[in-house]
Symmetry: none
């Protein structure tokens, strides 16, 4: 496993949230959780239920008596807060912090991120202990994130910073696109059927109607299979098959 930041929950109050944190971490490939004085009894069954498959993250999480103990072996500590206080600290958004953490981990440094209790957040002393503050730019009128959500955004940006998914839009298609000749043969047949039905009988309008029909089907980026389906539909509509 490559190096990753440690997530440190300081005095978390609700077992459900600790479970949600474990799930969000594992969603983003993070497995190193530390707990400082959790309020719920520990280990905790409700936390395990909410972890929904990420119980191993909970089971391997060590407990600490203080933030100082929990961060003693780390070289870089980030503190998350919704209300950056007057502490003259470097403040980063989650994507900025993610890039920074990737660089530090790449240099072999040990990195952790502190998250405070649900109601009150981190105390000033804990923020002061950190090297850098992470603040998430959100709706200024309603910026207080649930604990699991806050961990998710930091972990998600950390994961994204390494994500190799191409930025170009992916087309999910197991079947190859139809050849232009295949599409053209369908459109020729459709045109013939529409001529036979009288739909295209206005000679003046005909060219633009045909162009519009071509444009409409051309835009759908049809696969070979779909062109075959359209052939089948056309046959079905113009033929009166015996019911069975």
């Amino acid at each position: 496993m490559s190096a990753q930041p440690v997530i440190i929950l300081v005095e978390p109050q609700l077992a459900e949230n600790i479970g949600a944190v474990a799930r969000a971490m594992l969603n983003c490939g993070l497995t190193a959780l530390r707990l400082v004085q959790p309020r719920p009894e520990w280990p905790n069954e409700r936390a395990r239920v909410n972890a929904s498959g990420a119980e191993a993250v909970l089971d391997s999480a060590p407990l600490f008596r203080s933030v100082a103990d929990a961060t003693a072996d780390l070289q870089r500590v980030y503190a998350t807060t919704a209300r950056p206080r007057d502490l003259s600290k470097l403040i980063m958004t989650p994507p900025q912090a993610a890039a920074e953490m990737r660089a530090e981990l790449g240099r072999g440094e040990r990195v952790g991120v502190l998250f405070g209790p649900e109601r009150s957040g981190l105390v000033n002393d804990d923020v002061a202990r950190a090297d850098t503050v992470i603040a998430v730019p959100l709706n200024p009128a309603f910026s207080s994130l649930n604990l699991g959500q806050a961990v998710l955004l930091v972990a998600y940006e950390w994961f994204k910073a390494a994500d190799a998914t191409p930025l170009a839009v992916l087309h999910h298609n197991s079947s190859p696109p139809a050849s232009k000749a295949h599409l053209a043969s369908f459109l020729t047949r459709l045109e013939a059927e529409l001529d036979a039905s009288g739909f295209l009988r206005n000679a003046e309008m005909r060219p633009s109607m045909v162009r519009n029909i071509h444009a409409l089907f051309g835009r759908a980026e049809l696969t070979d299979q779909e062109v075959r389906t359209l052939h089948g539909i056309l046959t079905a509509l113009v033929t009166k098959w015996p019911k069975d």
Copy 2:
């Protein structure tokens, strides 16, 4: 308030999650929530507690009986799924979808995002109904997000995209996209004609055939005028007009 995407929860199972969704939405400045057949009794006190200050989002959320009803007035629908299935749909990551939604909303289009039930996710028919699939690139070994977390990531990327310079998107057509209700009425008619013709008589194959037909026409980003043209084509093909 500037235009924003509607968040649509399809058969949400847990009141806590609906509350968490409302909180995550308001964190990111979103207020338009719709509920399709929520399992918890509604309105719900546990949902309100979990909304932690975003109760107004819950209180103003209309209830719908079906996904079709909940999307009838929308022009662009996104479907979120952890498991993109073989439906030949455009797939986007949340930041890609956010940029796209900003562009669509900027053109005055009505946009919504579907989220499925916690355990099972959206059914294939609902994914087929959408124009675009949103999939979040996450730990491939553990990619299933909690409902509130999934909404948060989409809403967070939408919020983040507000700073971005709008994409210079060349729209293919000056005419506005068809509403989902208008497209659905054509597809319903086509389905009825294909049933009458016997094309869909294989009961086992029928659901996937219908889904593929929906996906194919959904992908073409049809305008209202084009849906009218398709209605005309369908009428022409199934009617024997007198030749003149």
